[in-house]
Amino acid sequence: MRFELDFTYQAGASPNKFCLHMTLSWQAKFTGVYGPSGSGKSTLLDVLLGLKDPASLRGTVRVGERSLFDRSTETWLPRQHRNMSWVPQDSLLLPHLTVADNLAIVGGGDTAISECVSELGLGALMTKKPWQLSGGEKQIVALARAILRSGELMLLDEPFAALDAMRRKELLALLQNHSMTRDINAIYVSHRADEIKQLCDYVIVLEAGVVKWHGPQDSWQPYTEADNL
């Protein structure tokens, strides 16, 4: 999938507020975004998802064939038409719905839900409400929801940070397998270089709101390029 980003996001009018600036074009199937806390990784996903106020953006954002945002033509594609799946850091499951209803709201169909539930081992959780789940369980449900959404781009924001090492390894393998078998394009945000190395074919390193490095994963040397992490 081709990405053409040339935008500036300014969190507020004051010059002291956070600013993310990106002028970057790349083509990749699985893009890793790496950087320390506060570098702008999640903000980048928010911009792609349309969660940021368009008034705080300048420039253009194109993903694939779609123009998501273009200040010059006043284009701003509504969130519900962006056809993206999202696994946020805090899962954002709907608290008034059971796990089953959280998955059904995506509208993937009973067969797809059954397959996904079985693949991720969620069978025992289906009747529970989000507040009855552990942090890790919530993240797996959020991953299931994103898989069922089957958008043309999946955005994963440190999805496995709340999981233990063994479960993280299992799910990384599952995600890797899933991306290959179902032809999923994804952006994977993490501050774990090993996860990005395992999953991604292109890497963007952010620091303090600017791109510090970008290029193919096999030419990325995280411990020298970002040795402050």
């Binding site: 349309g50 519900q80 850091q89 899962s91 709907l94």
Partner: protein, 234 residues
């Protein structure tokens, strides 16, 4: 006495339920707009809408009296729709009770909508749900307890309304004599035992409504993730 009490109780409930329905229909979308948008003059509009909380009900009744008079705006519209005058009817009392109880519901509803995490709604939109569907399936259910608490407290307020309802509905036994009006009429007629019975029933209804309203609007905490998000604090 029992017949008069039952008649006043049923009339009060009818007036209060109609008033509450009107309030919910008008104030729910209004509360959502006020809770979720910022615009020039919003503070002034909110202040005007909350005015019945502090104005003497009788002065609101006076304004409604002019509006509901045969040549008033509401009186004319009502007469053209029904062929009857609006003043001195239970419908006039219901409108007056609704105006008085309106800000209590509006305030609760604004707090309920403001407490729904915006990111949850945005997440639902990224799943492909249109904003209107998202409002029905995410915003409204999450605000429902706060809305129900507000509706109940406004119902209780409408049940006990006296000043404005008397101005426009009068105090006609069997027609516009509510529980509150019944207390006043019986005291004026020296029937203190009957007045006490009316007051006792009013007290019980108000107590129940307040308890249930507080239970519905109690400080519920819903897990959005590891962060606890306070949903309602009415």
């Amino acid at each position: 006495m029992i017949d008069a009490l039952a008649s006043s109780l049923l009339l009060s409930l009818k007036i209060a339920l109609v008033a509450m329905t009107l309030i919910c229909a008008i104030a729910t979308p209004l509360a959502w707009v006020l809770a979720r948008t910022n615009f020039r003059g919003k503070f002034l509009i909110e202040s005007i809408l909350l005015l019945p909380l502090t104005l003497p009900p009788v002065s609101i009744g006076l304004v409604l009296l002019y509006l509901m008079a045969p040549r008033g705006v509401l009186g004319t519209v009502w007469a053209s729709l029904t062929g009857h005058q609006l003043l001195l009817t239970w419908q006039a009392a219901a409108v007056a009770a609704g105006v008085i109880a309106f800000p209590l519901y509006l305030r609760s509803a604004m707090a309920a909508f403001a407490s729904v995490p915006r990111r949850l709604e945005m997440m639902a939109e990224t799943l492909g749900l249109d904003p209107w569907v998202c409002w029905w399936r995410v915003t409204l259910p999450l605000a429902a307890r706060g809305l129900a608490a507000g509706a109940l407290i406004s119902l209780a307020r409408a049940l006990g309304e006296f000043g404005a309802t008397t101005m426009v509905g009068g105090a006609i036994p069997g027609e516009t004599q509510t529980l509150a009006v019944g207390i006043y009429n019986n005291v004026m007629n020296g029937e203190e035992a009957t007045a006490a019975a009316f007051a006792g029933v009013s007290f019980m209804i108000a107590l129940m409504a307040t308890i249930v309203s507080r239970w519905l609007g109690r400080d519920t905490v819903t897990e959005v993730s590891d962060t606890k998000v306070r949903l309602h604090e009415v």
